[in-house]
């Protein structure tokens, strides 16, 4: 069998398997998210589609900074009050707890940990990011109010690091979420993380930390990349 024939054969087989996948009724919707009928208090029957009824399905909007002295003042306030979401995504999160100890003390830089994405404006992606965690990270990132910033901690977020050939982790975080500051190293010491905060503050004060708007502007591109790697996409496209 010649090489060309072999290629044709392989292509044919691939097309067949793709058709099979499309035909098979394979969904990843959890039982509680399935479309169902419920009885309202007045006795009428309503059809509920949780994925689209319980979440806002609006695209993110670009919210341009107002500019001028007001924006400068607000950027100063944003830079001096960085609230970090307490969500350790990988092994690098072990470097975050030392920051609240007397030795490093991040509070003097105006950095605090918050328990909820609603109140945070900075997200530390700490180290490797598995595909499973990426899904949660996207949901969480989109729940944070704009303006929001991402610090990517460790080499794994830049090029995959020591997990570059792993089947379950992503290599370049920048493809899936917009990153403001990279902190290189494996693992970076807490001092490096503090330096990352200082760098982020400089960027915010200079008005250059507008990645949330970039995410909104290139929303389709980011979503296509995310869906390429997350096979079991069972959530709305935009998770408020």
């Amino acid at each position: 069998m010649s090489e060309l024939d072999l290629n044709d054969k392989v292509n044919e087989m691939l097309a067949k398997s793709e058709a099979n996948v499309k035909n098979s009724d394979k969904t990843f919707v959890r039982p509680e998210d399935e479309i169902r009928e419920v009885v309202a208090p007045d006795g009428s029957i309503i059809t509920v589609n949780p994925l689209y009824d319980y979440f806002s399905n609006e695209r993110p909007q670009v919210e341009e900074p107002k500019g001028g002295i007001v924006e400068k003042f607000l950027n100063w306030a944003r830079a001096e009050s960085i609230w970090v979401l307490g969500f350790g995504t990988g092994c690098g999160s072990i470097e975050i707890p030392p920051l609240v100890t007397p030795r490093y003390d991040m509070f003097r830089f105006g950095v605090q940990m918050r328990p909820t994405p609603r109140q945070s404006n900075a997200f530390i992606i700490s180290g490797y990011l598995s595909v499973k965690t990426l899904k949660r990270v996207i949901r969480t990132y989109e729940q944070m109010p704009s303006p929001k910033y991402i610090l990517a901690l460790g080499s794994c977020t830049i090029n995959g690091g020591m997990y570059y050939d792993s089947y379950s982790t992503i290599n370049r975080l920048d493809k899936y979420l917009p990153v403001d500051v990279y902190i290189a190293g494996c693992m970076p010491r807490p001092e490096a993380l503090l330096h990352g905060f200082v760098k982020l503050k400089e960027l915010i004060k200079a008005g250059k930390a507008e990645k949330a708007n970039e995410y909104a502007r290139n929303f389709d591109e980011y979503k296509a990349n995310q869906k390429k790697i997350i096979k079991d996409w069972n959530m709305p496209d935009y998770n408020w």
Partner: protein
């Protein structure tokens, strides 16, 4: 004094109380940090946080009551200020007595609960699966705090035969030995112990501890509404301290005295918080029913006969 001048002075007093509350909060966090061997937050941090929260570009809605919750809390805090004489000036219609009137003690007790009710209403609308449990815990502890607190206040009211905070302050003038702390020690100790719960610091801060799952509605608030809650929290802390200062520690005759006394009263709850770890709700409710409640009943019995 005309009503406009009175409104102006009340507004000015509210601004002083708000800023003093924020500065006091920052100072206490700084003291806590120094105890832990850290440098701590800058003194200006609460104002920066407030500006930052006011400047978020996106907000998320969960319905009308979700937004009214923080407004309720803020109006509770402002209401507490409006009807409480802040500084004793020797005249019932003085500069800083605000809109104090006969029987304002009852209204103040009600306003204390107002913020908590606002949060409960917001929790209902927030849709947070744990908020119902969080609010149930909060209200359970608040009820346990309110009972001894009300008994102590009633005892003081019976002692001076009035429900007017201004008259209670007036009766305590003329030396330290006239303070309720010395004339009615049972009521004073009851109120001082119950105050720990009213201030909501450790060991009684399970309801609003930031890393508890059952924090409830507060996790859902962000942006301007969180700013509302921060400013109302600052006012509430000072107003609680002013309430205890007026009822137990002889009130204040000028703003400097008010600042020193409220600082020490607030420091008492922070000091206890630094020393003791957090209670579970059943432990704190049991504690309030065991010690302050018994003392409160004693205080009532002594002054009823």
């Amino acid at each position: 004094m005309s009503i406009y001048a009175k409104l102006g002075f009340t507004f000015l007093g509210l601004m002083i109380v708000l800023n003093w509350g924020m500065l006091m909060g920052a100072t206490m966090r700084k003291i806590g940090a120094r105890m832990a061997g850290r440098y701590g937050i800058p003194f200006k941090q609460p104002w920066i946080n407030l500006f930052k929260n006011m400047s978020t570009r996106t907000t998320i809605t969960h319905g009308v009551m979700y937004y009214i919750g923080p407004v309720f809390r803020l109006s509770g805090a402002v209401g507490l200020f409006l009807f409480m004489p802040a500084v004793f000036t020797g005249s019932e219609n003085g500069l800083w007595t605000n809109f104090s009137f006969e029987g304002d003690l009852i209204l103040i007790l009600y306003f204390q609960l107002f913020g908590m009710l606002g949060m409960a209403l917001g929790a209902g609308q927030g849709g947070h699966p744990y908020s119902a449990m969080g609010i149930a815990r909060g209200l359970a502890q608040h009820a346990a705090v309110e009972l001894p607190l009300t008994l102590a206040f009633l005892s003081i009211a019976i002692q001076y035969d009035t429900f007017s905070v201004y008259k209670i302050v007036e009766a305590q003038q003329g030396g330290m030995m006239n303070w309720v702390l010395f004339t009615n020690p049972f009521a004073a100790v009851t109120a001082i112990l119950a105050m720990l719960g009213a201030m909501g610091h450790s060991p009684f801060n399970l309801v609003k501890a930031p890393n508890e799952i059952l924090i409830g509605p507060a996790t859902e608030y962000e942006g301007t509404y969180l700013g509302f809650m921060q400013s109302s929290g600052a006012i509430l802390h000072v107003m609680e301290a002013i309430l205890f200062m007026n009822l137990i520690f002889g009130g204040a005759t000028n703003w400097i005295e008010l600042i020193v006394k409220t600082f020490l009263i607030y420091f008492w709850s922070v000091f206890v918080g630094m020393v003791f770890p957090r209670f579970k709700i059943e432990q704190s409710v049991t504690w309030f029913f065991k010690i302050p409640l018994v003392l409160g009943v004693l205080a009532i019995i002594i002054y009823s006969f």
